[in-house]
Every structure is written in structure tokens, then in C-alpha cells.
């Protein structure tokens, strides 16, 4: 290849990459650098920023509001990740076991909730869970139970929000699990049948190890998204009642746009970033350790 042709190729390459390089620099790379840099400043977004060193970090570690938001986020993760994992794997196993044409139909039906937005889902569920007039409390009363507070009570608000979030995402995870289940070679089950293994044993000795990559992917993706929960919470509870659903992203949003502590909100975001990175690495490490032992 001639020198000219090589140069032409380089110029074409960077010209064709330019829109995405510029986009990623301006809208992802600069913001994260900006967040880290400005987290060392006291800034209200209007006046001149003042360099305060690690002050914002010292503050957030002592701030009960931030610490509580982390705890709420963790609780949400503990409900959302196992909840969505178990339900969507269960649905995938069921759909996979149904043979013939109805398999496609059930996949389509279970996938439907994923098509509505978080906002619409939040609204549809407030309608159902409405403590005074909602259909679920109507049903509970009809069966002789006491009406529940659901999203309007401090104890049930976070589980309600987690329930709605699981409801939306289970179709997505189910599709991933279903693809993994289809890839498990049928001979493995046949061999196990010959050995006289029951279906529970087959599930744990064949299915679980064969879909472990997908399992890991689902767990990591759900963990990361659970740390970023916002939409459903904003619509259903607006962080309440009594801050029972103020997760970290909600707290950051409030600090920045309602309280006006921009520098401090950046520090909170940077710590959230570190937590997500560490959590992801831990999950990778745990799963590698697990497969080495197997």
C-alpha cells in the first residue's frame, strides 16, 4: 500500500469516527472528569466555585441523609436483584418447558410489561396500589383482610417500588435466560436421565452451571441498574414517605437541583461511581472463584 493511500485511509478513518468521538468526549468523558474535578469545590452553580479540597467528601461521610440514601439503595438492590433474577429465570424455565406453538405466545405475553416506560408503569401501579381506592386493597378487604398502605406507607414503599421495577424488567431478563437455556445441549439431560437423576438434581447439576455466564451478566446488569433507580421512585413516591425511598440517585438529584449544592452532589456521585465499580468487580471475582472451585 502506497504512502498516499495510507494517509488517505487515516484521514477517512478519523473523519468517519469524528461524530462519535466528539459525542463521547463532550457528553461522557468531559462530564465524568468535570464531576471528579468539581467535587473538590464548594459551588452552588451560580457564583464562583471555591476550592475546598476533600471537604465535600468529609461532609458526605458524616451526612446522615447521604448515608441513609446508601442504605436505602442497598436495601432496594437486595430486593430487586434476587427478585428479578428468580422470577425471570422461573418464567424462562416455564416458557422453555412449554412445547410447540404456545411457547412463542407465552414468551410474547411475559415480555409485554417491558414495553411500557417506567413512568407509565409507575402510574399504572399507583392506580392498582392506591391505598384508599385501589383494586388490590379492594380485593384484600373483600377477602376479609386489613387494607395496606403500599407505596404510601414507610414500611411498604420500598418493596412496592421494587415490585414495580421487577415487573418491568422480567421480560428482558427472561429473554436472556431463554436464549441461554436453548444453548444447553439436550444430550446432557438425556445422559442424566439414564443415570436416573431427578429434575431438581438436573437443574442444579446441569442447567445452573451451563447458564452461569448469563446469570452473571443478569446479576451485574441488574445490580448496576438498581444503584441507578430513579424513574419509578420519582413517579410513585417522590422519595417518600418520610424519605423511605430516597435512594442515592434521588438524593443526588435533590442536592443538585433542589438544595443547590452542586459541588457536594458531584462528590456524592463520585462515591456512587466507586461503589458501582467495586460492586461489579466483587461480583466478577466471586463468580470466578466459584467456577474454579467447581
Amino acid at each position: 500500500m502506497g504512502k498516499n493511500r495510507k494517509r488517505a485511509q487515516t484521514i477517512t478513518a478519523y473523519a468517519m469516527l469524528a461524530p462519535d468521538i466528539i459525542g463521547l468526549v463532550v457528553f461522557v468523558f468531559i462530564p465524568i472528569i468535570y464531576a471528579i474535578a468539581m467535587s473538590f469545590f464548594k459551588w452552588d452553580g451560580l457564583t464562583e466555585p471555591v476550592l475546598v479540597g476533600l471537604d465535600n467528601y468529609a461532609k458526605l461521610l458524616k451526612n446522615p441523609g447521604y448515608l441513609r440514601s446508601l442504605k436505602t439503595t442497598l436495601l432496594f438492590t437486595l430486593m430487586y436483584v434476587p427478585g428479578s433474577y428468580v422470577v425471570s429465570l422461573g418464567l424462562a424455565l416455564l416458557v422453555n418447558a412449554i412445547r410447540g406453538r404456545s411457547q412463542q405466545l407465552f414468551r410474547t405475553l411475559f415480555f409485554m410489561p417491558y414495553s411500557v416506560s417506567f413512568v407509565v408503569a409507575g402510574l399504572a401501579w399507583i392506580f392498582i396500589l392506591n391505598p384508599k381506592r385501589g383494586i388490590l386493597n379492594g380485593l384484600i378487604t373483600l377477602l376479609g383482610g386489613a387494607p395496606q398502605g403500599f407505596y404510601a406507607s414507610t414500611a411498604q414503599a420500598l418493596p412496592s417500588v421494587a415490585l414495580v421495577s421487577v415487573w418491568i424488567v422480567l421480560g428482558y431478563n427472561m429473554v436472556l435466560f431463554l436464549a441461554a437455556l436453548k444453548d444447553v445441549p439436550g444430550e446432557l439431560y438425556e445422559a442424566a436421565d439414564v443415570d436416573g437423576a431427578g429434575s431438581v438434581r438436573k437443574f442444579f447439576t446441569i442447567t445452573v452451571p451451563m447458564i452461569s455466564n448469563t446469570s452473571l451478566f443478569v446479576v451485574i446488569v441488574s445490580t448496576i441498574s438498581s444503584f441507578q433507580a430513579f424513574d419509578v421512585i420519582r413517579v410513585m413516591t417522590n422519595g417518600g414517605p418520610a424519605k423511605a425511598t430516597t435512594v442515592t440517585v434521588f438524593y443526588i438529584y435533590q442536592q443538585a437541583f433542589e438544595v443547590g449544592k452542586i459541588g457536594y452532589s458531584f462528590a456524592c456521585a463520585v462515591v456512587l461511581f466507586l461503589i458501582i465499580v467495586v460492586a461489579t468487580m466483587c461480583q466478577f471475582a466471586l463468580s470466578n472463584g466459584g467456577s474454579e472451585n467447581a
Binding site: P19, V218, I262
Partner: protein, 272 residues
Amino acid sequence: MRKRNSILLILLGTLLAVILLFPIYLMILSSFKPIDQVFDLRILPDFSSLTLKNYQEVLQTDTFGLFMWNSLVSSVAVTLAALLFHSMAGYTLARLEFPGKKLVFGWMMSTLMVPFAVIMIPLFFIAKGLGITNSLWGIIFPMIPNAYGIFLFRQFYLGIPRSLEESAHIDGASYFGSYWRVVMPLSAPIAITLALTFFVTNWNRYLWPLIVNQKRAFWVIQVGIATFKDDKEMLWNLILAASCLAALPTLLTFSFFQRYIVEGIKMTGLKG
């Protein structure tokens, strides 16, 4: 035995489907009810009382149509720009040789590690600095860059044979020319999948449009219906009718093109 098992499985599936789809069913059904019956508990309603009046009323408000239009324009614009940019970038990374290629690719993929929640506030100040807050550009531009899109196009182009482009090169086509005339038309399978995925994602997006546009004139439908709830004047029959209309584009997309969206999800996941 086998027959009985499969009937049991179908019964179980039907029961679960009824439970899982009930919220959508109730939302649609109640959106046709007059206000005095909207919290009526009967699952099968008095069909003669169902009415289109809620929809008429929602469509007559001065903001609803505007919010839908803003959503449509911004999500279609993001989708088209993303397809063009990511396919150019994906093709370049799959086919051209140039200094810094590995570095650029690695750097692009590293942006996947940055969660949106971490950068949303700085992103607002950058948008403000660029003067694109309170405009549809503010919703569109920052949502175009997407390393997944680049990666998936690259993978697709790695999988198609070089011979087609080589004959174009022999005919004297430039790199861009062979991309535009030969490779782009072959991209339909991946482009359809990504187009539907981008469209649905951006139509449903809430947090960023909420942050970037405080002026009502530039709200999208998700932001609009979320505030209907806090509006004391707004009644539940209208909220539900508005929600159904807001969900209609994605419900239709999912009904007709589910195959592609499922394909898109599988591509982002790993095998095995």
C-alpha cells in the same frame, strides 16, 4: 403423563400471564371509563358505559399533543443520528487501518463503564454551557453517543465478507464511497434491530429530559404524564388515557417487531 404435564404447564403459564398483564389490562380498560366508575372494582365492567370521552379530553388539552410531538421528534432524531454515526464508526473500526485504532476502540468501550446517574448533573452544566438546555437539541445531542451501538455495528461488519468492498475499491471507490454504496445497504438487519431499540429507549426516557428542559414547551410525554399525577385538577380517568397514548408507540413497536427487539437484547447479553 407427558400430555397431562404440558396441560399443567400451560395452565400455570396462563395464570401467570393473567397476573403479569393485569396492570396493563386495567390501565387500558379504566382509560375508557367515566370518572365516577374509574375505581369500580369489577374486573369485567359495564361495557355500555365505556366511553372515548377521556381520550377526546386529553387530546384537547393544549399541552398533550405538544409533548407527544416533542417525544416523537427527539426520539426519531436520536435514532437516525445514532444509526448513521455508529455505523460509520463501526465500519471504520472493523475495516480501516490507521494509527491509534486500538486506543480509540478501547477508549470508546471504556465509556460503557460510566453510569448515567453519575454524570447527569455535570452533563446538565455542559448542556447549559453549549446553550442547548430548554430546547429539543438538549434532549437529542447528549443521547446520541453510545458505545454499545458502535460495538454492535463493528461486530456485524467484521462478519460480512470483504470481497464486496474490494471489488468496489478496484473500481476506484474511496473508503467512504464503498462504505456508503456497498456496506451501508447490507446493514439492514443490524440497523433495524438497533433502530427499534434506540427508538423505544428514547421514547421511554424520563430522567434526562426532566433535567435538561425545565420549560414546559420542551417537555416530552414521559415528563408530561409524570406531572399530570401531581396536578390536582387532573383526574385518574384522564391520567390513564394519557398513559395509554404515551405507551401506544412502544406497545405497537413491541407487538409488530418483537423479534428484532428480542434479537437486540440477546446481542447485548452473553451466550451461555
